[in-house]
């Protein structure tokens, strides 16, 4: 990913780390329903947002992602009952911390999207892509070697 240069043809690359039970199924629904959304996103499917190590987000940014999106089940709807509650605590800290050290807040985004919300999934991806496009190519924390 790191070979993308900030040229005229630059397109944001977004890594979306999503949970298997809600958002991944939501993305599936968006696909089945033929809802259009920007192709800038790469989905990574994990069992649950609670499974996501904050390191994954930092690593994605280091390896050249322009933005990272984390999405899981709405609070109270977790397949594992409380995975997204603990994730929420973790990521509320992480989001504040990353912007504290000086990484633009919109590079790391968090949202909820259930299996029936194909429309919302498309909206989220559109929104995130727009926000990251405004920020331009990531320069901070990106490995150059």
């Amino acid at each position: 990913m790191a070979d993308v240069k900030a040229t005229d043809g630059w397109e944001p690359k977004i890594v979306a780390i999503v949970c298997n039970w809600c958002t991944y199924a939501g993305a599936d629904l968006a696909g089945i329903s033929r809802i259009q959304y920007p192709p800038n996103v790469r989905l990574v499917r994990l069992p649950c947002t609670g499974r996501i190590n904050p390191f994954y987000i930092m690593k994605a940014l280091q390896e050249g992602a322009d933005g990272v999106l984390v999405s899981g089940c709405h609070p109270g709807e977790c397949h594992y009952l409380s995975g997204n509650y603990s994730a929420r605590r973790k990521f509320s800290m992480l989001k504040r911390y990353l912007s504290y050290v000086g990484i633009e807040a919109d590079r790391a985004m968090f949202t909820w999207c259930s299996a029936s919300e194909g429309e919302r999934f498309a909206k989220v991806i559109k929104g995130v892509t727009e926000k990251v496009r405004e920020l331009g190519p990531a320069k901070k924390l990106v490995k150059t070697l």
Partner: protein
């Protein structure tokens, strides 16, 4: 503090003589003037070695954990019927007791494995500030008298106030008295300027994103990744640390600056609800990286979001291992 030192020696002697503890972890006089170094006392006769004053820097909870876990490992080779318990006595001021609380909450050992010798604390001398105050001269002798420090250097004598060389974390310390203890030694220490705890973090938050990033990269570019901060930290006790993990490799080991930044980001982020602001990492850092600025932010956020202060009481639950249904959600993106 003279008084505290005497009582501490007596108590340690008694505990060792009565075989209530196998080892007492404390401080002894260092080889350089105005320094103290950790000491492990197993013989009641050696209890006079213990010192306690403003020169005691390191958080001893680290050693308590090390000794107990090493002992537990060693016991695996012993027949079950011959296994012995090891009880460790720890000289603990406020921050040390908080670290012990965290280790206990995280079920690292039983409460019976440690005997806490709680001592009051007026703050310790920051070695870096001390060297600055000496202006490049070498201390040959030194002593602390009340709130004054007298140092003899080759060029002559110097005197300065103790409060000018106290470590930053001590000046705004909220817990300078033990939060738990088995043996209480001395009277309570007077409160510090705890209301100014987050002053620096607040000021840093007001800077622009670019300024904050510039400061972060500047500080992290000093880091030589000696991992002294990790080794000194009482909350860093994983058997295999993520920096050394290779399957999969978490953090790159190259000299590339983002590898260092990621290492520091992640190590500090592991301190959510676990950093007691004891200043051990800052004091051991050979390059003078301003770690406290970043650790304190996590502390502030944990307080704001979860009303949690690390290690403040045994009843608390670590903030990231619990949740509330109405936790703040303002960071969630809603298109």
């Amino acid at each position: 503090m003279e008084n505290v030192e005497k009582k501490l020696q007596e108590e340690a002697k008694k505990l060792l003589a009565d075989k209530k503890v196998d080892v007492v972890i404390g401080y002894e006089r260092g080889t350089l003037p105005l320094t103290a170094t950790p000491v492990f006392i197993t013989d009641a006769g050696d209890a006079e070695k213990l010192v306690y004053d403003a020169t005691c820097v390191q958080n001893l909870a680290k050693y308590a954990h090390d000794i107990i876990s090493a002992h537990r490992e060693a016991q695996k080779k012993v027949k079950p019927e011959d296994r012995k318990n090891k009880v460790v006595g720890v000289v603990a001021r406020g921050c040390t007791t908080r670290s012990l609380v965290i280790q206990l909450q995280e079920r690292q050992y039983d409460r019976e494995s440690i005997v806490i010798l709680g001592v009051p604390c007026d703050g310790y001398i920051d070695p870096k500030k001390f060297n600055l105050a000496l202006d490049g001269e070498q201390a040959a002798e030194g002593s602390v008298n009340g709130d004054q420090i007298a140092v003899k250097t080759l060029a002559g004598e110097k005197k300065f106030a103790l409060k000018d060389v106290l470590a930053d974390n001590c000046i705004t310390c909220r817990f300078n008295n033990p939060v738990i203890s088995d043996v209480v030694i001395g009277d309570k220490a007077p409160a510090k300027a705890a209301d100014k705890e987050y002053e620096k973090v607040d000021a840093f938050e007001k800077l622009s994103t670019e300024e904050r990033w510039a400061y972060f990269t500047k500080e992290m570019s000093k880091c030589i990744r000696c991992y002294a901060c990790r080794n000194a930290c009482p909350s860093c006790y994983c058997k295999v640390c993520f920096v050394e993990q290779t399957m999969p490799q978490f953090v790159g080991t190259s000299a590339e600056q983002t590898d260092t930044q990621i290492f520091q980001l992640l190590r500090t982020f592991h301190m959510v609800g676990r950093c007691v602001d004891c200043g051990s990492c800052v004091s051991v850092c050979p390059m003078g990286v301003d770690l406290r600025n970043f650790l304190k932010k996590l502390d502030k956020d944990a307080l704001e979001l979860f009303e949690h202060r690390a290690g403040a009481s045994m009843e608390d639950v670590p903030p990231l291992s619990t949740y509330r249904e109405n936790d703040k959600e303002d960071f969630i993106y809603n298109p």
